[in-house]
Symmetry: C2
Subunit: 157 residues, 2 copies
């Protein structure tokens, strides 16, 4: 199934984040069955609050296409978008968003709010939730488990 | 009054946007009674959906301070923030946001939603609304009036 094929690519991006100590979240943007942008979370590395995978992928896609309107693109992201990333999805007019794991604490697509389905905004997006959700969520669980173990090891030294 | 002093600086930024044909919205970020970042809307010029005044000012402030946490900063912006910019305010932990004109169609601080006062997010910000609101709003009114007049002139040629 094509959603899973592209989510696998978003997972590859997420793993690049984990390798450099960033929370493993990855995203790709697809147009005409081709990946035109890919990015992973770089918040700690860049010390930029905007360096979420989705936002960076959207900026990269806009750069590639020369427009801020991504009207024929699909965004794949391993974790349910936050309020900022839901906002940039709306601003860039992406019609379809596919995500993996839910974010019960900060997700604003389905968990806390339904920002991509808010009729008062000038854009709404179709949402496909839960694609490879277990694999996407497991990466996060493993990452935080290792982080805690490392902190514990440091305290014991 | 100090809020008005800094809003005047945000207005100066907004006017820079108008001069290059961008919707006149400007922002400054203040820390310890000093402006550490200033920016204006550059969406059309950059063709980036993220190039709103607030988001660019926040990125610039994070670059200046070397951290994504703007915990001792105040954001001044001429127009009520949209959903994306409300999101980046939350992500950067800005404690105080001062804005000028309301945005009845897209503002998510007071008009459509109260995102900066949403208890389910891990950050809330204090909001001061309506500082130099008339001047901030008039810039937008004048800009769109001129835009319509220019379009009409072009059609008549």
């Amino acid at each position: 199934m094509s959603h899973e094929k592209y989510m696998q690519q978003a997972i590859i991006e997420a793993k690049k984040a984990a390798e450099i100590g960033e929370v493993p979240i990855g995203a790709v943007i697809v147009k005409d069955d081709e990946i035109i942008a890919r990015a992973h979370n770089l918040r700690e590395t860049s010390q930029q609050p905007t360096a979420h995978a989705e936002l960076l992928a959207i900026e990269s896609a806009c750069e590639a296409l020369g427009t801020f309107r991504l009207e024929e693109c699909t965004l794949y992201v391993t974790l349910e978008p936050c309020v900022m990333c839901s906002g940039v999805i709306i601003m860039s007019r992406i019609p379809t968003v596919v995500y993996g794991a839910s974010d019960k604490k900060g997700g604003t697509v389905d968990s806390l709010m339904h920002l991509l389905n808010e009729k008062r905004f000038n854009h709404q997006a179709e949402v496909v939730a839960g694609v490879l959700a277990d694999e996407c969520g497991q990466m996060l669980t493993d990452f935080f488990k290792e982080l805690r173990a490392n902190k514990k090891r440091k305290r014991l030294k």
